[in-house]
């Protein structure tokens, strides 16, 4: 393993033990976040994106459990750490931003108090120093009148400001890895652009690696260096971001991209991948996407395809490739018409 990778997840499997059987929220996921890079995880709701992030933080609650795999952070396996050691890493070396800026701040404390909290826990600093650092980080995340704002309560701030506070809280200890779980989903697009620009700026300044979880392909295109597409707990396709958008090869990713409404196309009905994410307790025997895949054949229903490399650093979990399948489908249609 090279030191150039901040985070390297190997064959991670996180299972929830339920009354109806074990449910693999994260199934054999391997991913790498190189130092100073932004890596995206995309997928529909319930595909295991957030659970992958929570596994890294080891904040999985019972009945969930990480059953196998390795999570190497700067070369050290986090899964061998004691809870106390993990607690020291959380918020200091790895920190996290959540989706809802409205509910991610404790309503009974001032934002200043909350921003300083991570510092208070991880670095024992005198009060003046705490405040100085808090003002510094507020200025860094672009909160105007930083000093006055420290005394504000969360309900006095707008959603965008609150998300800035959240980012400030996460960045105050200058972590090596920032996990952003849908950081802009609850914000409107102008604020979204500002927050994304801010995250990029902080990455450039501090060299922080970012694991960005989103379901927004636009955000991926704008932010990420490398992308993992997840479905039903597994990685379906992974590629460098330009490669992915130029050369989509998994039918699922193709479907996701096709579902994005285009302002320059007039359509009666927006495209959606047919069906819903399968119940993780009753996954199909073969490929987990087979029930919704328009090209699925017998083999897809019986065996799970392995990840295979179809171009340098471009892996897909499919027996064929989307372009080949689409071509074949077109031909068969032509045959029918003839």
């Amino acid at each position: 393993m090279s030191k150039a990778n901040t985070l390297e997840i190997q064959h991670l499997r996180t299972v929830f033990h339920t009354r109806h059987g074990d449910l693999a929220a994260v199934n054999d996921v391997s991913l790498t976040v190189p130092k100073g890079k932004i890596v995206g995880i995309v997928g529909e709701s319930g595909c295991g994106k957030s659970m992958t992030a929570m596994s890294v933080m080891q904040l999985i609650r019972k009945p969930g459990e990480i059953v196998s795999g390795k999570i190497l952070f700067n070369g050290e396996d986090l899964l061998t750490k004691t809870p106390r050691e993990m607690q020291a890493i959380r918020g200091d070396r790895i920190s996290m931003i959540f989706q809802e800026p409205m509910t991610s701040l404790n309503p009974v404390y001032t934002v200043g108090h909350q921003v300083e909290e991570a510092l208070r826990i991880h670095e024992h600093l005198p009060k003046e120093e705490l405040q100085r650092r808090a003002i510094e980080i507020f200025e860094a995340v672009g909160i105007p009148e930083a000093k006055e704002r420290l005394a504000s309560y969360p309900h006095q701030l707008s959603g965008g400001l609150r998300q800035r506070v959240m980012i400030g809280m996460a960045m105050i200890c200058k972590p090596d890895l920032l996990i952003a779980d849908e950081p802009t989903t609850a914000l409107d697009v102008t604020i979204e652009a500002q927050i994304l620009a801010l995250m990029k700026k902080l990455r450039d300044e501090n060299g922080t690696s970012i694991l960005l979880i989103t379901h927004n392909m636009g955000v991926v295109a704008k932010m990420c260096d490398f992308v993992y597409v997840m479905y039903a707990g597994r990685v379906m396709e992974q590629a460098e971001v330009f490669e992915l958008f130029r050369n989509v090869q998994h039918p699922y990713t193709a479907g996701l991209l096709q579902s994005i409404p285009r302002i320059d196309h007039v359509v009666d009905r927006l495209y959606a991948i047919p069906g819903v994410v399968p119940n993780l307790l009753h996954l199909p025997d073969g490929c987990s996407f087979c029930t919704r895949c328009r090209y699925a054949d017998d083999r897809c229903f019986s065996t799970m395809p392995e990840l295979k490399e179809i171009a340098p650093e471009h892996l897909i979990r499919c027996f064929s490739t989307n372009s080949a399948l689409a071509q074949a489908a077109e031909q068969s249609e032509e045959v029918q018409h003839a």
Binding site: M57, L59, R90, D92, M96, T103, V108, M166, M169
Partner: protein, 333 residues
């Protein structure tokens, strides 16, 4: 005749309430959300008034004018508390000084509530007895609240085995009639003021624990708790620094509503002879002593009885008032 001048189409067809609404808050009448009940509207108006109030004192004034019963209750409690604190100055006589020549006298200018079977001044004894009643009202309530809060937080946040053990203990405690349980504890520990604290704490922690547990269960799923965990905050720190402050409104309401129960329990225990012991006195004990003379001089039993009633009612009304203030409707502002 004045009513004629006020005649208008609204008053002609609308009921009395409708007119009141229109005049009291004109902008509310235009509110598109007409489904709101009159009570809700009143609360929204109150919330707006509170938001405009600049100082804490202004807020208190608004709240007092809104809920006069609670305001009066608060004054009553303060007066009783002051009398209890400055009992040596407030009491006209020494509460233990016997005067056997003037036993069982009725109400008179010298002895407002007469004298008891040993010729002691009932009014002075009531003032000293208020000390016991107030301390019993406040301290065990506070102790049981503290115990219930800690156990409720542990139960709700840690869950699993701790939750099971604590909640089953709470079930067992609540399955017994509380007075019976308190009597059992008192008989085991022996009579005395400290043991009353323990007994009352022991019988009343379970309700608090349940309320705080359910509150904790919902709060622990909040994103800010998750965020705190992701920052490396320890679980005890989360329980006491992040969840507890969010339970505070509930705790304040529980506190005021539990006080009358404690006062009444102490009175009952003292009445049964296992509470405060002579020469110390409490209102419950005075009722107990006075009951033998109910036919000859009823005032010596009735006066402390009425005092218990007034104090308990005052705390109840104050609790209701506090609960209204803590209502989420008002907190939203």
């Amino acid at each position: 005749m004045k009513n004629l001048k006020r005649y208008s189409p609204e008053t002609a067809f609308g009921g009395k309430n409708e007119r009141k609404d229109l005049t009291s808050s004109a902008k509310k009448a235009n509110d598109p959300d007409a489904k709101l009940s009159a009570k809700d509207r009143k609360r929204i108006q109150l919330a707006a008034d509170l938001g405009e109030a600049e100082t804490g004192w202004d807020k208190i004034k608004i709240l007092c004018s809104e809920n006069k019963l609670a305001a009066i209750s608060f004054v009553v409690i303060v007066v009783i508390a002051l009398m209890a604190i400055f009992a040596p100055a407030a009491a006209p006589y020494d509460p233990t000084k016997q005067d056997l020549l003037h036993r069982l006298e009725g109400m008179s200018p010298e002895h407002i509530f007469g004298t008891d079977q040993l010729g002691r001044d009932v009014f002075s004894r009531m003032i000293y007895g208020a000390r016991v009643s107030l301390v019993i009202g406040l301290l065990p309530t506070f102790l049981s609240l503290a115990l219930g809060t800690v156990l409720g937080l542990i139960s709700g946040y840690l869950g699993r085995t701790a939750d099971f053990i604590i909640m089953r203990l709470a079930d067992i405690t609540m399955a017994f009639p509380s007075l019976l349980l308190a009597m059992v504890v008192m008989y085991t520990l022996g009579a005395g003021i400290v043991n009353i604290f323990l007994a009352l704490t022991f019988v009343s922690w379970a309700g608090t624990a349940r309320v705080i547990r359910s509150q904790t269960l919902s709060l622990r799923e909040m994103e800010y708790i998750e965020a705190a965990r992701s920052m490396g905050v320890s679980k005890w720190h989360i329980m006491f620094r992040h969840i507890l402050p969010n339970c505070l409104p509930n705790l304040i309401v529980l506190f005021t509503l539990n006080i009358p129960g404690s006062i009444l329990s102490e009175s009952s225990l003292s009445f049964l002879g296992i509470g405060a012991q002579p020469p110390m006195t409490s209102w419950g004990l005075m009722v107990s002593d006075g009951k033998q003379y109910l036919f000859t001089n009823p005032v010596i039993a009735i006066a402390p009885g009425v005092a218990i009633l007034i104090l308990a009612l005052a705390f109840n009304f104050l609790g209701d008032g506090v609960r209204d203030v803590m209502d989420p409707y008002l907190n939203k502002q």
